[in-house]
Amino acid sequence: MRRRLFRNLVSAAVTEPLAAESPESIGTELRGIIGRTLGRSVAIRQVDAGSCNGCELEIHALNSAYYDLERFGIRFVASPRHADLLLVTGPVTHNMREALVRTLAATPTPRWVVAAGDCAAGCGVFAGSYACAGAVSAVIPVDLVIRGCPPPPVELLRGLVALLGRPGERRSR
């Protein structure tokens, strides 16, 4: 283990270098926004409201060393009570509807809701099912939609920038 730790210390990081459209440039912009409006940190609570788990896999990838989300001050938290932002995936199933509404109620304001993935955005291939209540916006107010099935990590980052960079998005919300 020591050998490996040592090698990791002296070798270059896999985290991607700054390039026009790379995660880092998107993230740097994000970092600035977070610094200005949110006291340098954003806590995200992810809620799967009926997803196929594909969206979760890509959200997980944001935490990998390639994207290393935490360097931008964004981190995932275990409780909605600690969260600034709910990142919701999936068509909202009837069986998850109440849990989603309650999770939102447990999230302090100011807060944002991001619907990630085609299912969360518009119910996706599950539209019209007896078991689905619909897109996330059919159940709780949504501030931003990130499309994709699933949205790749870079798209997720880009979406967060778009939301947090909106003029007028301030703590006063």
């Binding site: 849990a99 291939v125 007896y130």
Partner: protein, 504 residues
């Protein structure tokens, strides 16, 4: 024995591949008795209009058969009264079809939480829900010093939703009861009446981590039903995708299990290799998870030179990096202390529930659909089946490690012998009014079964997908008993059952 048991009963003429036999109540119950005696494994049980079907496997002869029983006066005999692994399957089919299962030991609803606007949504005569469902009653757990910890459906991480009701005594878990169904999206009803293309898109979204495996099983079932032979190149490409999916998921799991034992370095290192696997998949097949790439008739995309090089580069990198990580896993005492002897699956339960994938193979059940059923191309290029005996978290990690290694070798060999030619054939409508078939595929999590019935216009009449998790979730309930609460995340991650695949 299985063939003798079903002999003399009429064989369904619409079914291709493994025969489906229409049996009477006495034979249905005899199946239950044989399941109970351990001579047969239950592969699946699902409802239909006016009937209930089951799929059976006889380990001794490696024979697969399907049996169907007609619903009479709204009733069929329950298999669960003989064989517990059928219990949740029957509770689910009772929810979806409204059939009454005579003798079913537990009549609580399973997928139906009382929130749908319909009752028995898959039945032709599904009704509008009029009264609110009674509150779900969890099993009683009483005794001095016991208390309960309810967890979920929204969990503390980036995970799918489900509810766990722990009854604990001090730090020790006395009982875990699961409640699932939160991500039930009504896929089987959406499939009904849809065309093959739309059906394939739904199937690819049953469980995102197994999207290739689900699509693969669906494609094989459709092709079998239609008597369509996919081009050889497609058969190999699908397996290449399936092995990439296996590697990516196993890497994710190995890292996440170690992370739940607070060894985050493995998590970071495995995460890097997983990301590289997804990127190679995107280069080779155009999608990081390879969603919608396997379709009935072949594959949606072909593998170009760039893609082949990306996979070869990935294999080379894995061959270099992976052994070091394994060494790290095996030589870190603090990690070994957490995983060895934790969350053991009892051999009797493994024999009874016949769980697929790393859960079975970590506990001595040597079943791998790639080997046992030897579907193409694994009939030409066999895969080594990993097998361990301990049945603990360590063994489940060990199986994943072995399988990553085996898949790396298999992929290397497969790329060398990949046949040329077309990668997709058009599907022709059947000559009969309806055709049906069943197929199984080994996903990263275990064996998946798909049964499909099509009409003359190539529309889906009935399609059922049985995720491996159905027979794995119940074992998690048992494996955690007697362990401390703090070890639950570790056990749970080592099982990594699918919620969405199970809830459908």
């Amino acid at each position: 024995m299985l063939q003798d048991l079903l002999a003399g009963h009429p064989v369904a003429e619409t079914q291709r591949g493994w025969p489906r036999v229409n049996v009477d109540a006495a034979t249905w119950q005899a199946i239950g008795t044989q399941l109970h005696a351990g001579r047969l494994d239950l592969l699946a049980e699902w409802g239909d209009e006016g009937a209930v079907h089951c799929a059976l496997y006889e380990p001794e002869s490696r024979c697969v058969r399907l049996a169907s029983i007609a619903v009479e006066a709204g009733q069929v005999p329950s298999l669960a009264q003989f064989h517990r692994p059928a219990l949740r399957l029957e509770r689910a089919l009772a929810d979806l079809y409204g059939h009454e299962l005579a003798g079913l030991p537990d009549r609580r609803p399973w997928l139906d939480h009382g929130t749908w606007p319909l009752v028995a949504p898959l039945a032709a005569a599904s009704g509008v829900r009029e009264s609110a469902a009674p509150a779900y009653r969890f099993l009683d757990a009483e005794g001095p010093g016991l208390h309960q910890i309810p967890v979920g459906p929204v969990h503390a991480g980036i995970i799918e939703p489900g509810h766990f009701r722990f009854t604990v005594c001090g730090e020790t878990v006395v009982r875990l009861e699961q409640r699932l169904g939160y991500v039930h999206r009504g896929i089987e009803r959406l499939l009904r009446g849809s065309g093959i293309e739309a059906g394939a898109r739904l199937i690819a979204r049953v469980s995102g981590d197994s999207t290739v495996a689900c699509s693969y099983a669906f494609a094989r079932a459709v092709e079998l039903a239609l008597g369509c032979n996919p081009p050889p190149r497609a058969q190999w490409l699908r397996a290449v995708m399936a092995e990439l999916e296996r590697i990516a998921n196993h890497l994710g799991d190995i890292g996440a299990i170690c992370n739940d034992a607070s060894f985050s370095m493995m998590h970071a290192e495995c995460g890097i290799l997983r990301e590289e696997t997804l990127r190679a998949a995107a280069t080779a097949f155009g999608h990081r998870l390879m969603m919608d790439t396997v379709v009935p008739g072949g594959t949606a995309v072909d593998l170009g030179d760039g893609g082949r090089q990306a996979i070869q580069a990935l294999l080379q990198r894995l061959r270099r990096q992976f052994p070091e990580l394994i060494e790290l896993y095996a030589n870190t005492d603090s990690l070994q202390d957490r995983v060895v002897g934790t969350g053991v699956t009892a051999p009797a339960l493994v024999a009874e529930f016949a769980p697929g994938g790393f859960i079975g193979r970590a506990a001595g059940r040597a079943f791998d659909a790639r080997e046992a059923l030897a579907y193409a191309p694994y009939d030409v290029l066999p895969v080594r089946v990993a097998l361990r005996q301990a049945g603990d978290v360590d063994a489940r990690v060990g199986i994943r490690i072995d399988e990553v290694r085996n898949s790396i070798d298999w992929l290397g060999a497969a790329l060398r012998q990949l046949p040329d030619g077309p990668h997709r054939l058009p599907l022709a409508p059947p000559a009969m009014d309806r055709v049906e078939a069943t197929a199984m595929v080994e996903g990263f999590r275990g064996d998946l079964l798909v049964h499909v019935r099509l009409d003359r216009a190539l529309r889906i009449e009935r399609c059922h997908l049985r995720d491996p998790s159905w027979f794995q979730w119940p074992l998690l309930e048992a494996a955690i008993e007697g362990n401390i609460v703090a070890d639950f995340p570790l056990c749970n991650k080592s099982f990594n059952c699918s919620y969405s695949g199970h809830d459908l």
